[in-house]
C-alpha cells in the first residue's frame, strides 16, 4: 500500500467496511421489495380481474351462479318453461290388414253341376272413360270378375245341375201319379158299395197318400234346395200339362229345368272368384268370396312385455292410428282396437291385438303391412323439459333453473329423467331408482330452465365451487 497516504487509507477502509456491510443490507432488501412489489402487482391485477368477473357464485344460495346480462347475451343463452307431462312415445305395433270375419261370405253352389253362366256386372263407367268417354253410350255389361262390387241377391253364377233336374222330374212324376191315383180313388169311391172290394179301396187310398208324401217330399227337397214357390208351382203346372197333354210344354221351364242360380248373400266386393262358364263344380268349392271392405280388420302384434300397458288403457280410449307402410307419406287412419288375443305366438311371444280401421275411401288392401300407433296415457307425476336443457355430468343429470325473482341467477338442480326422446325429456318428480336422493327439490311446471349454455354453466359452477372450497380449506 505504498501508493496510499495513511489518512486516506483509513477513510477508504471505513468506506469499504461500510460498503461491505451496508450495501448488502440495503440493496438486497430493496431488490426483494422490488420483486415483491412486482408480484403484488400481478396479484392485484389478478384480483381486479376476479372482481370484474361476469359470473360468480351466489353467496346466499348453494349451487347458484349469478350471470351478468352480457354473458347471457354473448353465450346466446336461451331458456324454456317446464311443461306438463306428455304422453310417452306411442306404442308401435306392427301388423297387417285383414277382412272382417263377419263381413265376408264364401259363396258355394248347392249342387254339383256345370257352370253355364256367370252373373253380369254393369260397368258403372263406359269404356273409354276420361276425355274420350261418351256420356250417352250405354253401359257395358260383362261377366263378374274379381274386385267387382255386388249387391245382395245379385246373380253370381248359374249351375246346370243334373241333380235338381232329376228332383224336379221326381216332383212332376209324383204330381202326375198323384193325380192318377186320386182319380182312381175317386172312381172307386163313387162306385156302388160292394162293387169295389174294400181291400182295393184301402190300397187306392194308400196310393194317394203315398203320392202326396212323394209330392211333399219332392217339394220339401226342392224347397230346401231353395227352389222358389213360383218355381214349384210352375213345375206342378208343367206336370199337369204333361198329364193332360194339354198345350206345348213351357220352353223356359224346360230350359231352366236343371238350372241352379248362385246369388250374393251380401253386398260387397268379390275378393275371390274361382269359377268360370264350363267349369264343373262341386258343392264344397267356394265359387266366390265376397267381403265388405268398408272397414278392415287390423291384426297387430304386441310383444308380451307390452300387454300390460295395452290392457291398462280403458276400453273407451283404445284408439289407434294406422300408418300404412307402403305409403308412409299419407295421413294416418283412425280406428280402435277392441280385443287382445288370448294366445301368445310361441315363436314370437307376441299376442294379436285386434281392431278395425275405416276404409270407406277404399284405399286399404287386405294383407297390407301397417304400423299401429297407440297413444299411451299421460303419466301423472312427471314434467317435461327440452332435451337441450339436460346436463349430464358424472352420472347425474341436472338442469339450471332461472330464479323467478332474479333472471340472472341460475340454480343447478338435480333431475331424474325417465324417458329421453329426441326433443323432450320426461322427468320424474321423485327419483325412482335412488331413494337416498329423495330430498331433491323437484321441478315444477312453470319453472324456467336454461336450454342453451347449460353445459358451460355447469362447468363454470363446478370450477368456482371447487375453487371456493379450496380457498375455504386454505383459510
Amino acid at each position: 500500500m505504498r501508493f496510499v497516504k495513511p489518512v486516506f487509507k483509513s477513510i477508504m477502509t471505513i468506506v469499504i467496511f461500510a460498503l461491505v456491510v451496508l450495501v448488502p443490507i440495503k440493496i438486497v432488501p430493496m431488490v426483494h421489495q422490488w420483486l415483491e412489489e412486482r408480484e403484488a402487482g400481478h396479484k392485484k391485477h389478478a384480483a381486479e380481474v376476479h372482481d370484474e368477473k361476469m359470473h360468480e357464485l351466489a353467496s346466499d344460495q348453494p349451487n347458484t351462479l349469478v350471470v351478468a346480462p352480457d354473458v347471457f347475451k354473448s353465450m346466446r343463452m336461451t331458456v324454456a318453461e317446464v311443461q306438463p307431462p306428455v304422453s310417452p312415445e306411442p306404442l308401435k305395433l306392427d301388423g297387417s290388414l285383414f277382412l272382417l270375419s263377419n263381413s265376408m261370405v264364401h259363396q258355394h253352389s248347392r249342387f254339383a253341376g256345370d257352370v253355364v253362366e256367370i252373373g253380369e256386372f254393369e260397368d258403372p263407367v263406359a269404356v273409354g272413360s276420361g276425355s274420350d268417354s261418351v256420356p250417352d253410350k250405354p253401359r257395358e255389361k260383362r261377366p263378374l270378375q274379381f274386385g267387382d262390387f255386388v249387391h245382395k241377391g245379385q246373380l253370381l253364377a248359374v249351375i246346370w245341375s243334373k241333380e235338381i233336374g232329376e228332383k224336379k222330374s221326381e216332383l212332376v212324376d209324383a204330381v202326375s201319379k198323384y193325380e192318377f191315383d186320386r182319380k182312381a180313388l175317386k172312381a172307386m169311391e163313387s162306385a156302388r158299395e160292394g162293387t169295389v172290394a174294400g181291400m182295393k179301396l184301402i190300397e187306392a187310398n194308400r196310393n194317394v197318400e203315398a203320392d202326396l208324401v212323394a209330392i211333399d217330399k219332392a217339394e220339401r227337397t226342392l224347397k230346401s234346395w231353395q227352389v222358389s214357390i213360383p218355381e214349384l208351382e210352375a213345375i206342378r203346372n208343367e206336370a199337369q200339362k204333361i198329364r193332360e197333354r194339354a198345350g206345348r210344354p213351357d220352353d223356359s221351364l224346360t230350359r231352366n229345368w236343371a238350372r241352379v242360380e248362385v246369388r250374393s248373400f251380401v253386398e260387397g266386393t268379390i275378393v275371390e272368384k274361382n269359377v268360370n262358364v264350363g267349369d264343373y263344380v262341386n258343392t264344397d268349392l267356394v265359387l266366390f268370396k265376397i267381403a265388405d271392405l268398408s272397414r278392415m280388420n287390423v291384426l297387430a302384434h304386441a310383444y308380451e312385455e307390452d300387454l300390460s300397458v295395452l290392457e291398462g288403457i280403458p276400453q273407451g280410449a283404445r284408439d289407434w292410428k294406422i300408418f300404412v307402410k307402403a305409403d308412409p307419406r299419407e295421413e294416418p287412419l283412425r280406428g280402435s282396437f277392441d280385443r287382445i288375443g288370448d294366445i301368445i305366438d310361441p315363436t314370437q311371444h307376441t299376442a294379436l291385438v285386434m281392431g278395425w280401421v275405416d276404409n270407406s275411401r277404399g284405399r286399404l288392401r287386405v294383407g297390407q303391412f301397417i304400423t299401429a300407433r297407440v297413444e299411451l296415457p299421460v303419466p301423472a307425476d312427471e314434467v317435461t323439459i327440452p332435451v337441450s336443457a339436460l346436463v349430464d355430468q358424472d352420472g347425474n343429470s341436472f338442469v339450471f333453473v332461472r330464479s323467478p325473482a332474479n333472471p340472472q341467477r341460475f340454480t343447478r338442480r338435480q333431475v331424474f329423467p325417465v324417458r329421453r326422446r329426441d326433443d323432450l325429456v320426461s322427468l320424474a318428480r321423485r327419483p325412482r331408482w335412488r331413494s337416498s336422493d329423495a330430498a331433491v327439490e323437484p321441478l315444477a311446471v312453470g319453472d324456467w330452465v336454461v336450454t342453451t349454455g347449460g353445459l358451460q354453466l355447469a362447468a363454470e359452477l363446478t370450477y368456482l365451487e371447487s375453487q371456493a372450497k379450496t380457498e375455504l380449506t386454505s383459510k
Binding site: 469499504i16 467496511f17 408480484e39 400481478h42 396479484k43 307402410k325 307402403a326 355430468q393 358424472d394 353445459l455
Partner: protein
C-alpha cells in the same frame, strides 16, 4: 504450424487472394442457396402412431388398441418415452426417442414393431406425418357462391377435392410428409334399411349387404380377336361405372354446371343402388329400394333424402374462419363507421401441409407456392370457381425473422467497422478487419451449405461478429502498431508484417483454443437446447475458424499490400483520451486497491444474494406473429354447441384490430393426427405486423402482445364461462406438446392407477395452482366426463332367445353407428357404402331401445312330446303332451279361414330394450336405472402408467419460482401410489440447467488447464478467470435491469463471452508478465502493460458490444430468442470494461513474485 502458414501466405499472396476470392464466390453461392429456418427443430426423433377405431369408447380403445401397441413398441432401441392417449375412436401413441437416434431408423423400427401388434380386425395403425415444427402452410378451400350467397359446392365436394386431388398434388412435392385435412364432410353413400320392410320381405341385413357388394364390381373377360384387331372383354358392374364425375366437372365452364353435374351423377349412383336386386320371388324382383326407408320412389322423384342417400361419415371436427374482406390492393374494406367488414364462415375445408422432419422449408415452401398458383390459375385443376386461400405461411415468419437478423447483422457490421476506424484512424486497417466479417460469414455459410445444414435466426443472429473478428483485430492491430511504431524500418514490409504477425501467433493460438473450450458447452449441449443452439454452435465455430484462418492468411497479406507506405504515427485523439482517462482512474484504483477489491467483493456478494431470486425460464418465447387460442369445453360437449361458441369467439377475436383473422378448429382432423375431441376449440389467430397495430381508444400507446393476451383472456373468460382458455403460438404449441405430451406450456402429470382418484387429485392441483401468482389458465385434461349411453346386455334375457352379445352389438354398430361394407369407386376416389338405420329410428335413447334384433337361433318345437323308437324289448311309444293335447292350437286371428301371414313369424325379433337392462350404482341390473353413465373421455398414459395432466401457463413471473411455489404447495396432496412429474418447459429447463452446469464446469476446468499451459501459473490462471467473474456480473445485472429471466439463450450468451473475457484477461496478464520477465517493477509493469493493451482490449470489447447491440435492442419478430443472449453479451462486455481495473488491481497483489520464464511469450 501457424508460423508456417503465415510464411506460406506471405510468400503466396496471389494464391491467398485467389483462394479468398474463391471463398467469396463459394460463400456467396452458399449464402444465396443455404436453407434458412425460422426455428430449429428442438425435438428428438418422435414417431407418432395413430390407430383409428371408429365408434369405440376410450376404455375399449385403451384396452384393445393402446395397450397392445404399447406392448409391441416397448423396448425399442433408444426409446425414451411412450406417451399415449386413448379416446373415443382413436388411439394416439407418441414414441419419443433419445436425442441422437436417427429419425428414419426410429421410424423403421416402429413400422417393424407395428406388424407384431395384435389389433382388432378393423384397426390399422399408421404413422402420423406430424412433427413439432412440421406445420408450414395452411389453406382453406373457397367455394363460389350463388346469387343468394349459398356455396355452390357441398362440403362433400370440397372435402373430396381436398382428400383425393389436393393432398396427392402436395404430396408429390419432395419433402412434404403429409397433408392434414380438417373440416368438411367425407362423402358416404348411406343405405337406410327399414327394419319392417326387411322383415316383410324376409331379407336380412347380411343379404342386403351381400347383394350390394356383389353388384359393385367390374370383371375382365380377357380379349377376343375380331379380324385383325383385338377387343378386350369387360363386364361393367361397378355402380356408376367406376367413373369419376369430378373429371368432367372440372372441365365444365361454370360452377353451377359443375355442381349440377356432380349432383346428377350422385343421383345416378343412388338410383343404381336402389335398383340392385336383393332377391326375387316368382320373377318379381325385390330391389334395394323395396327394403329401404320410404320404399320405392318414382324415377322422376329423385328422392335423395331417404332410403339411399349421399351422406357423410361421422364428423371429427369443424373449421371456421372469420376474415376481413380485402380490396384489390390488399387493403381491408371498412364500413361507414370505419370498422372492418368481416366475412365469417363456419364450415370450411382446410388443408395443413406438413414438412418432413429434417427437410428444408424454404425450397419446399416455394414449391408449395408454385403448386398453389398452378392449382388456382391453371384451368381444369380444381372444380370451376374453387380456389385455395392460404392463411398461414411459414415463409412469412422466415422472411420477417431473416429480415430482423439481416438488419441486426448489417447494423452490427457497420458499428464494428466504425469502432475499428475510430480506434485506428486508418481506413485501410479498418477495411482489412471489416472485410473479414463478411468473409468469415461466407466461410460459415459455405461450410453449412457443404454439410447440407440449415441456418436459422439463432444460428446466424446470435453470432457476434465483434467476437468473431477479434483474432483479425489483434493481428491487424499488432501489425499496424508495429508498422507505425517506426521499428525495424530497414526490413521489407513483408518481413515486418510477418514478424508482427508471428508475435501474436501464440496468443492467437491459445486464445482460439480457449475460445473453442469456452464454446464447448455449446457443442456438447443436448436435449432441446442442443437442438436449438447446436446450429448456432456450428455457425459460430465455422465463423470463428474462418476468421482465424483469414487472420492468418488474407489479413497479413492485405496488410503487406496495403501498409506499404505506412508512416510511423501515434495514437489518435480518441485512443489517447481513453488511455489518459483510463490510466488516471487505474492509478486511483491501484492506490486504493483494497477499496477496489472491497467494492468488487460487495458487488459479488450482492449479486450472489440476488441471483437465487432471479427469474429462470427455459427458453425465451420466439414471437411468431400469431396466437393459438385454445378453449377447453366440458368433455361431453357436442360439435354443434362448440361451433355455436366458436362463432362468437371468432367474432370476439376479430374485434381486436391487432388480429388479422381468426380461424377456428373444433375437434380433430379426420386422420387422427391431433388427438383431441369436440371439447377442444383451437383458434389460430395470425396477428398484423406490429407497426400496424393501432393505439386502442383511451390509450396512449399500442398494446404489448402480453397485454393483448391478457385482455383476450379476460374477455373470453368473462363472456364464455365454463371454458378454460389457453394462449400459445403455433410452433411453440406443437413443440411443447411434442416434448411433454401435453398441450400447454407447462403441466404437472399426476400418475396413478385409479381414474376417479386421479380426477379428484387433478381438481385439487388445479385449484391450488390457481392461487399461485403468475400461474395463468390452469386447466385439467380430464379423463372422465364423457357421457356414455351404455346398454348393458342382459345375459339372462338374451339366454331366453339364444341371442349372443355379438348379435346385439352388431345391431348397435350397424343400426346406430353405421357399418361400411363396400366402396363406391369414382375414378381414383373411394367412398364408403354403409348401412345405417334412418335417423328417426336411432336419434334418442327410446328410439335405440326400439331397434329390432333378429332372433335367429331360437327354434320352436311342438313341445316335449317325443316319439321313442322301438327297442328289442318294447314297441314304439310316445310321451304325453304337457299341454294335455297334441292338437294344434287355435288360429291366432280366431278364424282359420281369415289367416294371413305373420310378418314376424319367419325370424322372430326382439327389441333392443328387451335384451338390455340398465345397471344401478352398485352395478346390479335395475330396470329403473339409467342408461346414461359417465365414462372416460381421454385416457392418457406414459410409460405404461395412467396419468392425468393439469396444464398451466406462467405469465408475468418467471417459471422457476412459480413452479417452485407450486411444488411447495402441492407436495402434500399426493400419497403413494400416486406421484407427480412436472413437465413441459419446466422439465426442459431443469434438465437443460443440469446438463449445462456439468458442461460449463468442464469447460472452465479445460480453460484453466489451457491457461495454466499458457502461463505455467495457477495464480495467473485464476487471475484471468477474475475477468470472467467481472463479465458475469455485467451480464447478470444487465439481464436483471432489462427485466429478463435467466434462460438457455442467456446461458449461451455467457458461454459466448466466456472466451472473450478469458482472452482479454490473458492479454493483460501476459502483458504484465512479459514486462515482469524483464524485471520491470510490478506497478510499472501494470501501468505500462495496461497502456499497451488498452487499445486492443477496448476494441475487442467494444466490437463485441456493438456487434450485438442491435440485437439487444431489437423488438422485432424473431428478436426474442436472441435478446437475452445479446443482452448478456453486451452487458458482460460492459462488465469487462467497467471492471477492467480488476485484473491490474489483483495483479498488484503479486508483489515480488516472478512470472514463469515462458509466461511472457504470450505477449506481443
Amino acid at each position: 504450424m501457424v508460423g508456417r502458414l503465415l510464411e506460406w501466405a506471405m510468400n503466396s499472396r496471389a494464391v491467398v487472394i485467389l483462394l479468398t476470392l474463391s471463398l467469396a464466390y463459394v460463400g456467396g453461392y452458399a449464402f444465396l442457396h443455404v436453407n434458412v429456418e425460422a426455428y430449429p427443430d428442438p425435438a428428438p426423433a418422435i414417431v407418432e402412431v395413430v390407430a383409428q377405431y371408429p365408434g369405440a369408447s376410450a376404455e375399449e380403445v385403451e384396452r384393445l388398441v393402446t395397450i397392445p401397441l404399447e406392448v409391441a413398441l416397448a423396448g425399442m432401441p433408444g426409446l425414451k418415452y411412450t406417451r399415449t392417449k386413448s379416446m373415443f375412436g382413436l388411439s394416439h401413441l407418441r414414441n419419443q426417442f433419445e436425442y441422437g437416434i436417427d429419425f428414419v431408423a426410429a421410424r423403421q423400427e416402429v413400422l417393424n414393431r407395428l406388424a407384431m401388434a395384435d389389433m382388432p380386425k378393423t384397426v390399422k395403425p399408421q404413422l402420423s406425418p406430424a412433427s413439432p415444427i412440421g406445420e408450414i402452410f395452411r389453406y382453406t378451400l373457397n367455394s363460389p357462391k350463388d346469387a343468394v350467397g349459398k356455396e355452390i359446392y357441398s362440403l362433400n365436394d370440397l372435402k373430396s377435392l381436398q382428400d383425393w386431388t389436393l393432398e396427392r398434388q402436395f404430396l408429390r412435392i419432395p419433402g412434404i410428409a403429409g397433408v392434414v385435412s380438417c373440416g368438411g364432410t367425407v362423402k358416404r353413400y348411406e343405405i337406410q334399411p327399414d327394419p319392417q320392410r326387411l322383415k316383410e320381405y324376409g331379407i336380412t341385413l347380411q343379404q342386403l349387404e351381400k347383394a350390394i357388394s356383389d353388384s359393385n364390381a367390374n370383371a375382365g373377360g380377357n380379349f377376343i380377336v375380331q379380324g385383325g384387331s383385338v377387343q378386350v372383354v369387360r363386364g361393367i358392374g361397378l355402380i356408376g361405372g367406376g367413373e369419376d364425375p369430378l373429371v368432367k366437372a372440372m372441365d365444365l365452364p361454370t360452377p353451377t354446371e359443375a355442381a349440377a353435374y356432380i349432383r346428377s351423377e350422385e343421383r345416378r349412383r343412388v338410383r343404381q343402388i336402389r335398383q340392385i336386386v336383393v332377391t326375387a320371388t316368382n320373377n318379381v324382383p325385390i330391389r334395394v329400394e323395396h327394403v329401404v326407408k320410404g320404399g320405392p320412389v318414382r324415377p322422376e322423384e329423385d328422392d335423395l333424402t331417404a332410403g339411399v342417400i349421399v351422406g357423410y361419415q361421422t364428423r371429427q371436427g369443424q373449421i371456421g374462419i372469420n376474415r376481413p374482406l380485402i380490396d384489390k390492393d390488399g387493403e381491408e374494406l371498412v364500413d361507414q363507421n370505419g370498422q372492418r367488414i368481416m366475412l365469417d364462415e363456419d364450415d370450411k375445408v382446410q388443408g395443413i401441409i406438413l414438412l418432413r422432419k429434417g427437410e428444408k422449408s424454404i425450397p419446399i415452401l416455394q414449391a408449395v407456392h408454385e403448386k398453389i398458383n398452378e392449382l388456382n390459375h391453371d384451368p381444369g385443376r380444381l372444380l370451376p370457381g374453387v380456389f385455395l386461400e392460404p392463411y398461414y405461411n411459414r415463409s412469412t415468419l422466415i422472411d420477417v425473422t431473416t429480415e430482423t437478423v439481416r438488419e441486426n447483422l448489417l447494423v452490427g457490421v457497420v458499428l464494428v467497422t466504425l469502432i475499428l476506424l475510430m480506434f485506428l484512424s486508418n481506413v485501410r486497417t479498418a477495411l482489412i478487419v471489416a472485410i473479414n466479417i463478411p468473409l468469415a460469414l461466407l466461410f460459415a455459410f459455405a461450410m453449412l451449405f457443404l454439410r447440407n445444414k440449415s441456418a436459422n435466426l439463432l444460428s446466424i443472429g446470435a453470432v457476434d461478429f465483434g467476437i468473431i473478428v477479434d483474432s483479425s483485430v489483434i493481428m491487424v492491430e499488432n501489425i499496424f502498431r508495429r508498422l507505425t511504431s517506426g521499428e525495424a524500418v530497414e526490413l521489407h514490409v513483408k518481413d515486418r508484417v510477418l514478424r508482427a504477425a508471428k508475435e501474436v501467433e501464440r496468443s492467437l493460438f491459445y486464445s482460439t483454443l480457449i475460445m473453442v473450450c469456452a464454446l464447448l458447452p455449446l457443442f456438447t449441449m443436448q436435449g432441446p437446447e442442443g437442438q436449438i443452439f447446436g446450429p448456432m454452435a456450428d455457425t459460430y465455430a465455422f465463423a470463428l475458424g474462418g476468421a482465424l484462418l483469414l487472420s492468418f492468411t488474407i489479413s497479413p497479406v492485405l496488410c503487406g499490400l496495403l501498409f506499404g507506405n505506412l508512416k510511423p504515427m501515434g495514437d489518435n485523439f480518441i485512443v489517447r483520451t481513453i488511455k489518459s482517462v483510463y490510466m488516471t482512474q487505474l492509478k486511483f484504483f491501484l492506490n486504493n486497491r483494497w477499496a477496489t477489491v472491497g467494492v468488487f467483493a460487495v458487488l459479488v456478494v450482492s449479486t450472489c444474494l440476488i441471483v437465487p431470486h432471479m427469474g429462470r425460464e427455459f427458453m425465451p418465447e420466439l414471437e411468431e406473429g400469431n396466437l393459438i387460442v385454445r378453449g377447453t369445453f366440458p368433455v361431453n360437449v357436442s360439435l354443434e354447441e362448440v361451433a355455436r361458441n366458436a362463432r362468437f369467439v371468432r367474432q370476439k377475436l376479430a374485434d381486436y384490430p391487432e388480429v388479422k383473422l381468426a380461424a377456428s378448429q373444433i375437434g380433430r382432423p379426420d386422420d387422427g393426427t391431433d388427438p383431441t375431441g369436440f371439447y377442444e376449440l383451437q383458434v389460430f389467430v395470425p396477428l398484423k405486423p406490429r407497426d400496424k397495430w393501432p393505439v386502442p381508444p383511451g390509450r396512449t400507446r399500442q398494446r404489448e402482445k402480453h397485454e393483448l393476451i391478457e385482455e383476450l383472456d379476460d374477455d373470453l373468460s368473462r363472456h364464455v364461462p365454463g371454458v378454460n382458455w389457453d394462449f400459445s403460438q403455433i410452433i411453440r404449441d406443437n413443440v411443447m406438446e411434442s416434448l411433454s405430451g401435453v398441450k400447454g406450456e407447462n403441466s404437472v402429470k399426476i400418475i396413478g392407477p385409479d381414474l376417479d382418484r386421479l380426477e379428484d387429485l387433478a381438481v385439487s392441483f388445479r385449484n391450488t395452482l390457481s392461487t399461485i401468482p403468475g400461474v395463468s389458465d390452469p386447466g385439467i385434461f380430464r379423463i372422465k366426463g364423457q357421457t356414455n349411453l351404455s346398454f348393458p346386455i342382459d345375459r339372462g334375457k338374451c339366454a331366453l332367445w339364444g341371442v349372443n352379445v355379438a348379435d346385439v352389438e352388431d345391431v348397435i354398430e350397424t343400426a346406430v353407428g353405421g357399418m361400411s361394407f363396400s366402396e363406391m369407386l369414382e375414378g381414383e376416389r373411394r367412398f364408403d357404402i354403409a348401412l345405417r338405420w334412418p335417423e328417426e329410428l336411432r336419434k334418442s335413447t327410446d328410439d335405440i331401445l326400439d331397434i329390432p334384433v333378429d332372433v335367429v337361433k331360437n327354434t320352436v318345437t311342438e313341445g316335449t312330446v317325443s316319439s321313442r323308437a322301438a327297442t328289442p324289448f318294447t314297441g314304439a311309444s310316445s310321451g304325453l303332451s304337457p299341454l294335455g293335447t297334441s292338437l294344434a292350437m287355435p288360429a291366432l286371428s280366431g278364424s282359420a279361414f281369415n289367416g294371413a301371414s305373420n310378418a314376424l313369424s319367419r325370424v322372430p325379433r326382439r327389441r333392443m330394450g328387451d335384451l338390455v337392462t340398465p345397471v344401478n350404482d352398485l352395478g346390479e341390473p335395475d330396470p329403473l336405472a339409467q342408461f346414461v353413465k359417465p365414462g372416460a373421455a381421454t385416457i392418457s398414459r406414459e410409460q405404461g402408467n395412467r396419468l392425468i395432466a393439469v396444464k398451466f401457463g406462467v405469465r408475468g413471473r418467471d417459471l422457476a419460482s412459480t413452479v417452485a411455489e407450486a411444488q411447495e404447495k402441492t407436495n402434500h396432496l399426493l400419497k403413494p401410489p400416486y406421484r407427480m412429474a412436472w413437465s413441459g418447459e419446466f422439465q426442459q429447463m431443469q434438465e437443460a440447467e443440469r446438463r449445462m452446469l456439468i458442461v460449463v464446469s468442464l469447460a472452465l476446468v479445460l480453460i484453466m488447464v489451457m491457461l495454466y499451459l499458457a502461463f505455467y501459473s495457477l495464480l495467473d490462471a485464476f487471475l484471468v478467470l477474475a475477468n470472467v467473474i467481472a463479465m458475469s456480473l455485467g451480464g447478470l445485472w444487465t439481464l436483471l435491469l432489462a427485466g429478463l429471466h435467466f434462460n438457455v439463450s442467456a446461458a449461451v450468451g455467457f458461454i459466448s463471452i466466456l472466451g472473450v473475457a478469458v482472452m482479454e484477461g490473458m492479454i493483460l496478464v501476459s502483458s504484465f508478465n512479459s514486462l515482469r520477465a524483464v524485471r520491470v517493477p510490478v506497478f510499472d509493469a501494470i501501468i505500462k502493460g495496461t497502456e499497451r493493451r488498452i487499445r486492443p482490449v477496448t476494441m475487442t470489447a467494444l466490437t463485441a458490444i456493438l456487434g450485438l447491440l442491435p440485437a439487444a435492442f431489437s423488438t422485432k419478430i424473431g428478436s426474442e430468442s436472441q435478446r437475452p443472449l445479446a443482452i448478456v453479451v453486451v452487458g458482460g462486455m460492459f462488465g469487462t470494461l467497467l471492471f477492467f481495473n480488476l485484473v491490474p488491481v489483483l495483479y498488484s497483489f503479486y508483489g515480488h513474485r516472478e512470472p514463469h520464464h515462458e509466461a511472457g511469450h504470450l505477449a506481443h
